[in-house]
């Protein structure tokens, strides 16, 4: 498999990298899931990762906040290298927001409590201030009136927007999205993508695992294609979709675009 990297130098909006991954490998027992990953993500850069299922794209972003442990190479997030040091990991996790495919809201807490939990316990923000911040972000994802409800009372799209707001309350420098719209009913995909697009406009650094090609085209600086644990191709969205280089990418695109 050939790694192509055509005219990709102009895209990085900022030179100092917020995330740097160098020669990273990961295994699940004997299974080599990530092979020699090298990736620099600049501040305010937005990256969409796509690829067939099992290609390691979710595992890759889960390594960035150490939900998965890598075995070789380096991952440096905002100047801090991720290693066994639990304090570093907890600090990094507080700086890196994560949105999951299945939302993972806390069902026993109200929407407001879901949002204030992190700021209060991790950032030690006073309760009142945390609630004000929470309401600000709920307003932003257009769901403020539901703040006293429990997650189970909301639709999937609403829950995912709450999950995004929950991450934003921690004031992260980077947001990771792990297939944020794949578990949603089709008519709810747009409301979540709209929130993500407005987030992008404000200059948030984002790494999104997604097959929403429209989103990738309009928002991403760079699209990464992964297959069998490798980054096979990366390019600007227009180049990537209109002029894919590797055969594997062409096949994949032809399958998802019908």
């Amino acid at each position: 498999m050939n790694l192509k990297q055509s005219n990709s130098e102009k895209i990085s909006p900022s030179d100092d990298a917020i995330i740097e991954i160098i020669e990273m490998h990961k295994w699940f027992d004997d299974f080599h899931v990530l092979r020699d990953i090298n990736l620099r993500v600049g501040r305010q850069e937005r990256i969409v990762i796509c690829g067939p299922s099992g290609s390691g794209k979710s595992t890759l972003i889960r390594c960035i906040n150490r939900l998965e442990e890598h075995q070789r190479g380096q991952i440096i997030v905002d100047g801090v290298e991720l290693n066994k040091d639990i304090k570093n990991i907890e600090k990094t996790r507080a700086e890196v927001g994560m949105v999951f495919q299945h939302f993972n809201l806390f069902p026993h807490l109200t929407i407001l409590e879901n949002l204030t939990l992190g700021p209060i316990w991790v950032r030690k923000t006073p309760k009142k201030e945390a609630e004000e911040t929470a309401m600000y972000f709920l307003e932003k994802v257009h769901i403020a009136e539901q703040y006293l409800k429990y997650p189970g009372q909301l639709s999937g799209g609403q829950q995912q927007r709450v999950a995004i707001a929950r991450s934003l309350c921690m004031r992260p420098n980077v947001m990771l999205f792990d297939e944020p719209t794949s578990a949603l009913d089709p008519e709810m995909v747009k409301e979540v993508l709209d929130v993500m697009i407005s987030l992008a406009r404000e200059g948030m650094t984002m790494i999104v695992v997604s097959h929403e090609m429209g989103f990738a085209r309009s928002v991403a600086h760079r699209v990464l294609f992964m297959d069998a644990g490798k980054i096979v191709e990366q390019n600007t969205p227009d180049e990537f979709f209109d002029n894919p280089q590797s055969d594997r990418t062409k096949l994949f695109l032809s399958q998802i675009l019908h």
Partner: protein, 363 residues
């Protein structure tokens, strides 16, 4: 076969079909639908007719409530006098007769506090302090020796206060210990995990009776000469250790039911292990395991009666002692029915409370 499909434009709501009307309809559908069920119904009615009226006659109409033993020998009915005449001994055991108001007061305080604590809205810090204060007062009432209260040796404690003491302390101490053991068993640290597994499996592999025997017979052998540990305390510790192992397995089941995503979401926010457990995992896990936990606690409560084998005079033992009195021999049915009734009240209170708690916590 041809299937006929009909498309109707009716959108009105249609009532469900009426299968039964009135008492006769209900009886026909539930008791007499078919010859087999009709036969069963008739047999059951016959059996009830044979058993219930004689029992009611024995327990109520022909029974003696306040009499002495000899009067009881004459009658065909139940002799509840065995309970009423010996009530103070059954309830308080060998506690000095003049001082029995003290355990009575202690029990009343305990029951009042338990009822007061039923409402979750009252679970505040002040309630915790009240409990601590109440426990000290109860201990003082039982033991005496201060403030002009006559001292009573704990070897004289018995009956219902002892049963309540063993179970209330046993259950409240076993529960948190069980939670800790369950967390330990799921720990990623091999040493802690192994210790917890060994503890749980060893305790669960041994009957409570043998633990009680060990605490009363074997354990003192290892103590240096002259040092003694109170017998009740030893039994209490055995009950706590035993119940904790069972609670731990129930809690572990609850922990396994929490999806991995909850842990990941908590970690992704930056919560540490203790915060994740305390704020996210345990609140959800403890809620789903209310029914099995209460089963464990109820059976532990009843198991406290096993302390009779190490000669502690709990409620069951005091009753048995009454029955060995020649005056009251032969009335064990009445006495045991009474004991069963007392146990039932306590267990019913526990399961009723768990049902209320479940309803309140349902989201």
């Amino acid at each position: 076969m041809q299937s006929k499909t009909q498309i109707t434009n009716e959108t009105d709501a249609i009532k469900p079909p009426i299968t039964s009307i009135g008492v006769i309809g209900w009886m026909r559908t539930n008791l007499f639908n078919g010859w087999f069920n009709s036969l069963l119904t008739i047999i059951v009615i016959y059996l009830l007719w044979k058993t219930v009226p004689p029992f009611v006659r024995w327990a109520l109409f022909d029974s003696l409530w306040v009499s002495d033993g000899t009067a009881c020998q004459q009658t065909d009915g139940a002799c509840w006098s065995v309970v009423t005449a010996n009530l103070r001994f059954i309830i308080f055991g060998f506690f000095p007769h003049d001082l029995q108001w003290r355990p009575l007061l202690a029990m009343l305080i305990l029951i009042a506090l338990l009822f007061y604590s039923r409402d979750r809205k009252r679970w505040k810090k002040s309630l915790g302090y009240t409990w601590v204060a109440a426990l000290i007062i109860m201990g003082l009432l039982m033991k005496g020796g201060l403030f002009g209260l006559e001292s009573v040796e704990s070897s004289k404690w018995g009956g219902l206060p002892l049963t309540l003491l063993l179970s209330v302390f046993g259950l409240t101490a076993a529960y948190p210990l069980g939670v800790v053991l369950a967390l330990g068993r799921r720990s990623r640290m091999p040493a802690i995990k192994t210790l917890c597994v060994i503890y749980i499996e060893m305790i669960r592999g041994v009957p409570l009776i043998s633990l009680l025997f060990m605490s009363s017979v074997v354990f003192p052998l290892f103590l240096p000469e002259g040092v003694t540990v109170n017998k009740i305390l030893r039994a209490q510790v055995a009950i706590i250790l035993f119940t904790a192992a069972y609670v731990a397995e129930v809690v572990r089941g609850g922990l396994q039911a929490i999806p991995k995503g909850q842990y990941e979401a908590a970690e992704a926010i930056g919560l540490n292990y203790v915060q994740t457990m305390r704020l996210i995992v345990l609140p959800q896990a403890l809620k789903i395991m209310i029914p099995p936990t209460v089963s464990v606690l109820i059976s532990a409560f009843k198991d406290t009666s096993l302390v009779v084998i190490i000669a502690l005079y709990d409620l069951l033992k005091t009753t048995q002692s009454v029955l060995s009195d020649p005056k009251w021999m032969g009335f064990s049915a009445e006495a045991y029915i009474f004991i069963a009734f007392v146990y039932f009240i306590c267990c019913f209170f526990m399961s009723d409370y768990s049902r209320r708690l479940e309803k309140e916590l349902a989201t």
